[in-house]
Amino acid sequence: MKVLVLSLLRLGDILLHKQVVRSLNARYPGVQVDFAINDSFASCKSLLPEVRHFHLLPRAILQRILVEQEQSAIAAFARLSKFVGGINAEKYDLILDATHNRLSVKLCALLEAREIRYAGNKKTTQNAWESYFNNQFSQVAKSRFHYVDVLTKSLGLDAPTVLLPRTTTAKKIVFQVLTSDIKKNWGLHRFKNLLDRVAQEYPAYESVVVCAPNEKAEIEKVLPSLQYQVRALGLREVQEELKSASLLVSGDTSIQHLAAEVGCPVVSIFIGSADVQKTAPYIKNAMLVQANTDCYPCKHSESCYQSSHLCSASVTVEEIYRNIQVVLKGEFMSRTNGMQGYRTDADQRGFMLIAGQSSEENLAKDFERIIWSFYLSNDWQAPVPAYGSTVYEILNDWTQRYSIKAISQFAVRYQSRVERIEALLTEGKNSFAEISKVCMSVGNSPSGLKGLLEQLKSWHLDAVAAFPEHSDSFLKLQFALHKDYSEAFSLYRELKSSLDEPLNLNLIRKQLLINLVRSLSEKGELYEREFRILS
């Protein structure tokens, strides 16, 4: 089995795509995996020993030819043809588009393999995860799942198991103090204060600041070499440092993924456009601190419009220091309620969990994730959906963090919410029924549906306003409502499938809740004790 992974994004993404290789190995033992990457990242080849061969896309030179026009576009065509020819000559069994953008989709149209999995490939059936990737993850909407999980599932693979940090007696903390995106930089002066604090409280630990050679001078202006160890290193050397480190403190950089890969514990600072849910290091017990401002997270492509970098100021040195303490002591469950931030873990269904503080709001979030994963993986359509065992697993986890009383209170309140959602969805269904009736009677022109469509749009706005925490359930419908249709039938079909999403999600919500309430009420007050014995 020969597989090519198209990884035409940046370094951090290439490193995360190592997880796709793990999924491939689990699915196809003995698989031979090749990567296609941009040639500007050729230096990362040594970090991916599991990849047999790399096809290098000469992206920068192609862009230079086409933009600066120092050479004929025909030369660009020849270079691209050579790149494509090199791939097609390998006769891959499977090509996976892990890049997931317009460029890679167009590139896939040139490639040959027994099977090519990419967004919008009409020859393959789109799975619900792929639709989630397109409609939710890649849009401004917040994702409920980590990038690796959404990517692997949308490529028809199983999500890999979340990596485990290694135990170590090492006394070295590595600091990555700059990122490639100015918006994600926490600030060298804050890092200086943090380094001083760590040196004072943990004198036995060696602190090493790592950076790229071109960053060293800038860093040494704040962290002079006489007082601090600042090392300009290549990627391979950084990896070696991380192998012998007890902790990495970093922003949202490729280095945090490198650390996860070698099992090095991580404390990471998420500011600017960095989103904890999407790009946390794929390892358990990483501590993530995110900004606490209204403008966070901002769009990746936009520069900061604030007069000062508010999000970096919202993360204090004290907060990061407390998270360092948690990791060094290994007391992950002892975080106090005052602490900001999240801890990475795996949920009951094996997906990465970004666990927040124990609160009813986070209970609801966790529960919704389970509902979504049930829905996206199509498990709810199994002959006997595993609602009961899933609830068992949920309770197994929750009872370690919450009291039975808190869970019961959540269940009662959630039940009332589910009923309200159901009532609202019934209104939407009725509104849609009118549309389908008119569709049948007026023929295939959508013009007669304007009034009814406006009614449905207004219902949609009310629904999102009433349940903002479930707005992602209605996102597909939002896209469908704002498309132009030339035929009434395609409008009908699109609206139906979009409205099915919140309806099916609520169906799963109800079933899981019924099982949850049943488990809680059957066992009553004795439940907590009995459950602990069982588990």
Partner: protein, 211 residues
């Protein structure tokens, strides 16, 4: 500036020493390289040039040639073809330098066939604009041809590069771009015909790369 004797004496050229001590040249009173520091100018110019791994490049504009010397030293594996309209400067450069990877071509004596052959090769073209002084239009037109931005040149290159669909579209004149510089955007429009061919899809990828 201190004047130095011009062994090739041509009234319209004047060779001098710049403030930095390097030789500089002017033609009919127009400077063909920096009068202050032509070496620094050459260094800045070579730094900007890409295509370090291709076999052959064209340098359009010789001037006094500091930039060519530097480029040839930095890229010993690369063949550099220098094109210039000033025969006198070419002679002087060749007399004073023996760089194995540099060839010069006097554009006054360049035949139509030679030019066509150069265009077909679609080589990278490095423009040394200070040396174009007084002949900017001629050099600009030549650059347009060599880098495939005219219909005629692109057609030649498309045929030579097996882009038959594009060559056909250019022949059919599906878009009036005769007086314009052809960009990747224009090519995208030209390739609207058969969107399912390998060629059309490849051009779509290239277009996407610069969007």
């Amino acid at each position: 500036m201190n004047k130095v004797s011009d062994s090739l004496s041509e009234t319209s050229f004047e060779f001098s020493l710049s403030r930095s001590g390097a030789v500089t040249v002017s033609w009919q009173g127009r400077l063909l390289c920096s009068s202050r520091d032509p070496l620094a100018e050459a260094q800045g110019w070579t730094r900007h040039q890409g295509f370090s791994v291709v076999d052959q490049v064209i340098v359009l504009g010789l001037g006094v040639g500091h930039h060519v010397q530097l480029l040839a030293e930095q890229r010993p594996q690369q063949q550099i073809l220098v094109l210039d309209y000033h025969s006198q400067l070419i002679k002087k450069f060749n007399n004073e330098n023996s760089l194995s990877n540099v060839k010069t071509q006097d554009l006054h004596f360049c035949t139509g066939n030679e030019l066509m052959s150069l265009i077909q090769q679609a080589l990278p073209v490095f423009a040394f604009r200070p040396a174009w002084s007084g002949l900017e239009q001629q050099y600009e037109l030549l650059k347009k041809e060599l880098s495939g931005q005219s219909t005629h040149a692109l057609k030649l290159q498309a045929q030579a590069g097996s882009c038959y669909q594009l060559a056909q579209a250019l022949r059919d004149g599906q878009k009036n771009i005769l007086n314009d510089y052809i960009s990747i955007k224009d090519i995208e429009v030209l390739m609207q015909g058969d969107k399912n061919s390998f060629e059309a899809k490849a051009w779509q990828v290239l277009r996407e790369l610069v969007k």
